[in-house]
């Protein structure tokens, strides 16, 4: 399935809903969208991975890039993910210790993410 990207605002958070496959071919589009959001002034970004059915190292690299960019801009970055196969990827790569991970968008935006 192709990559899908949709943005909405929840309070002061910008929520980017990602769907489909995030891989070496589609990750540049995710990177571009995140950069647009951050360059456009978004400082509290939540990426909702709820409809992602494939995520590889390239996609993870893009997410870490956004986290670092926001951190240097005094912003925050969080992920929403409740699928066990994806959570396993975060655990295996130790990225579960790098990203704030939340089960729902409500938890991510309400937790001051």
């Amino acid at each position: 399935m192709e990559l899908s990207l949709a943005t909405r605002t929840v309070g002061e958070h910008t929520v980017l809903e990602v769907g489909g496959e995030v891989d070496v071919y589609t990750a540049p589009r995710l990177r571009e969208r995140l950069l647009e959001l951050i360059d456009g002034g978004a400082r509290h970004v939540v990426v909702d991975l709820g409809r992602v059915d494939f995520l590889d190292s390239t996609g993870l690299g893009v997410l870490v890039g956004a986290l670092k960019r926001l951190r240097t801009a005094d912003g925050t970055f969080a992920l929403v993910c409740d699928k066990e196969p994806l959570l396993k990827i975060f655990r295996i790569t130790a990225l579960d210790q790098v990203f704030p991970l939340h089960p729902t968008v409500e938890a991510a935006t309400g937790a001051g993410a």
């Binding site: 891989d23 071919y25 590889d56 196969p85 295996i92």
Partner: protein, 144 residues
Amino acid sequence: MATVRLSFSPAPVHVRTARLVGVAVARRAGVREDLLDEVRLAIGEACTRAVALHRQYGVADPVLVEMSDSGTYAVRVVDRAPIEASIGLHALDADELANESLNEDDLTTGVGFALLAGFVEDLQVRPVDEGIGTEVRMVWPLNR
């Protein structure tokens, strides 16, 4: 003898095709259903790594993927990049991952290797027997 052999020009768009073929052959060979996500991810990572190396070194040769199912499901992903470029892979810890000075390419390489090592119990990365390049060899048991 490989059951299925696939070669593709080193472009990101073809990695998905390699993943789909790899999983289809795995399913047909009798790899357990609950391992197929890991097979898909691992073949994708190995092919992504090969494509990245070919592009980094300007190698236009195709990336080769061989799948065989004699006794086990074995997948070989062969690149033609200079060997010294491929050795020294290591997984990064959380502090390294979060380090500001680590660039995205290096991070992706480290994360990709962590995924391969984490998802494939029987994994080998070694120089090819003939010519330039390395092969990533991954083996999964068959449920039959």
